[in-house]
């Protein structure tokens, strides 16, 4: 199993590295901009007041983003760009894990070896989890030395909490993606299904914020539970976030493993 995991990770090392560098690069850009933005916080506050409150809330923008580095990063970096990068990375790893191997026929190489389908699945699964960890830890914790470099005040523990939240969020998405990868024999369908669901969840989140009538819809969106401002500013992750993300990840992983074990794995 570990041999398969190691190999799968090695095959996508350049892809993973580009995401890691991209994540660090963006964090660097935001960290570099922060001292200037903090100086101009008065002007920004005036500008923000001209926007509708619901609009600002929907896109995670608020005056509090100007009150500290953590708040600023939670809205600027972890509000949209970073989760999109994470979703792309995870869906790509999941798609390449199973459906691409079946689509290209290379799954026959693995299946012809004396290793069970469950081990093949978890070998591939582990590589995705490792990629998720590497991306989350490197792109979140790299902000600490960047803050040091720009003499920005920060609280170390808040970034560890953000790493944990990012990992849980990514793990739940990976669970969904790997389930699609186990079901479909075409990687593009994995990307479409994962992307479609995530876009749908984002829209649900926006709608639930904009309209009180649809408030309860928020519980069907991962973006409701992915609360970066709380993690970074208040150093807290709600219990429901743990419950939802871990439940989704575990259930989809089990379903994916069972599905892959039972399906025809050659086309």
């Amino acid at each position: 199993m570990l041999i398969i995991a190691r190999r799968a990770l090695r095959d996508k090392k350049v892809f993973l590295l580009s995401f890691v560098l991209g994540g660090i690069g963006l964090a660097w850009m935001y960290a570099a901009l922060f001292p200037t933005i903090a100086k101009m916080s008065g002007s920004y506050s005036e500008i923000l007041k001209s926007f509708p409150e619901a609009f600002l809330e929907a896109f995670g923008i608020g005056e509090e983003m100007l009150t500290g580095f953590e708040s600023y990063m939670s809205s600027e970096h972890f509000g949209l760009v970073w989760p999109i990068m994470l979703i792309f990375l995870i869906a790509s790893f999941a798609g390449a894990s199973i459906s691409r191997e079946i689509e290209k026929g290379t799954m026959e190489i693995l299946l012809s070896l004396p290793v069970s389908r469950v081990k093949i699945f978890f070998g591939k699964y582990l590589s995705g989890i490792a990629a998720l960890l590497i991306f989350v830890v490197s792109s979140v914790l790299s902000i600490i030395p960047l803050a040091e470099a720009y003499n920005i005040d920060y609280v170390v523990s808040h970034f560890f909490t953000m790493s944990l939240l990012g990992f849980l969020f990514g793990w739940a998405i990976f669970g969904l993606s790997i389930l699609f990868s186990a079901i479909f024999s075409d990687k593009s369908k994995v990307y479409m299904a994962t992307g479609g669901i995530m876009i749908g969840m984002y829209v649900i989140r926006i709608v639930s914020i904009l309209s009180d009538k649809f408030d309860k819809l928020k519980y069907f969106s991962f973006f409701h539970y992915y609360n970066a401002p709380d993690a970074l500013s208040k150093n807290s992750i709600a219990l429901e976030t743990f419950i939802v993300f871990i439940s989704v990840a575990v259930i989809t992983t089990i379903l994916a493993a069972v599905w892959f074990s039972k399906r025809d794995a050659a086309v």
Partner: protein, 289 residues
């Protein structure tokens, strides 16, 4: 106990009956040819044997074990070669070999095999020719000293010299008491190395015969043009048939021996002459309707 035993295997893809109730047994130490035209169900049967796909119905036993329930244990003893070349483009041959060997175990004949097939394991797969990719496939199939080889069209894409080398390697395996299940749509290939042959057509077994019996069913097709007058009745013999005629000659088929035809032909001055093995589909239509 047969080395491979397939009982009433059925595999349906929705309404398509890819394999429809085939049964056959392969004895230990035998080279068994699994012959059929493209789309007959050979690859589907092999994929069921390898547990890549699951039968709709039926049972497959290999070395006395259920091919599905004991799949992992069995694969320690099975060398497999797929009909299409499925390799990782970005890996080198050496990386493929090392990866498979790390799971399946080292092969006692690896070094000699690489040398014998004149294969360069350092090159990336995406730079290899079809023939070289097939060499790598063969090396991977023979890793780990397997007792059974399941080969789906192993000489596809190889030149005649390399084909001969593969036949020699397979015959050496047989001498060691190993069993070889080889699918092909090439009748001369099967005739050359197999002891028995199972003939599959439209998902059903048409016949399982000793290779000598198959040879007697060999068929040729051809065309002849004469320089002068000819009497087509001179050629009439058992198994000979004229399929169409023109002013200078005719098109023909010959079932079985061709020598009587050639002896008659020697009496004439010939302008043009062409003869070839009939394709498998023609043979099936003639013998295994």
């Amino acid at each position: 106990m047969p080395a491979i035993e397939i009982k009433n295997l059925k595999k349906y893809f929705r309404k398509v009956k890819a394999v429809d109730g085939i049964s056959l047994a392969v004895e230990k130490g035998e080279i068994f040819g699994f012959l059929g035209p493209n789309g007959a169900g050979k690859t589907t049967t092999i994929r069921c044997m390898m547990d890549f796909i699951r039968p709709t119905e039926g049972k497959i036993n290999i070395l006395g074990f259920d091919a599905r329930k004991n799949s992992v244990e069995l694969k320690k003893n099975i060398g497999y070669l797929s009909s299409d070349i499925y390799l990782y483009d970005e890996w080198t041959g050496r990386e493929h070999i090392d990866f498979a060997a790390s799971i399946k175990g080292p092969s006692p004949r690896l070094v000699s095999l690489i040398k014998r097939l004149d294969f360069n394991p350092k090159a990336k797969v995406k730079t290899l020719s079809t023939g070289n990719k097939q060499k790598l496939n063969i090396i991977l199939a023979l890793l780990g000293n397997p007792d059974i080889l399941i080969l789906d069209e192993p000489t596809r894409g190889l030149d005649p010299l390399l084909q001969n080398e593969i036949y020699a390697i397979l015959q050496e395996f047989q001498k060691e008491g190993k069993t070889i299940f080889l699918s092909s749509h090439n009748l001369p290939e099967v005739e050359r190395i197999c002891g028995r042959v199972g003939i599959i057509r439209q998902g059903k077994i048409a016949a399982v015969e000793r290779i000598g019996d198959v040879k007697s069913k060999s068929m040729h097709t051809g065309h002849i043009s004469f320089e002068g007058a000819f009497n087509k009745n001179d050629f009439l013999a058992e198994g000979f048939a004229i399929t169409s005629e023109n002013a200078n000659g005719f098109f023909f088929t010959i079932r079985g021996e061709i020598n009587p035809f050639l002896n008659t032909l020697a009496k004439y001055r010939v302008k043009d002459f062409e003869i070839a093995h009939a394709n498998l589909e023609d043979i099936f239509l003639t013998f295994y309707k």
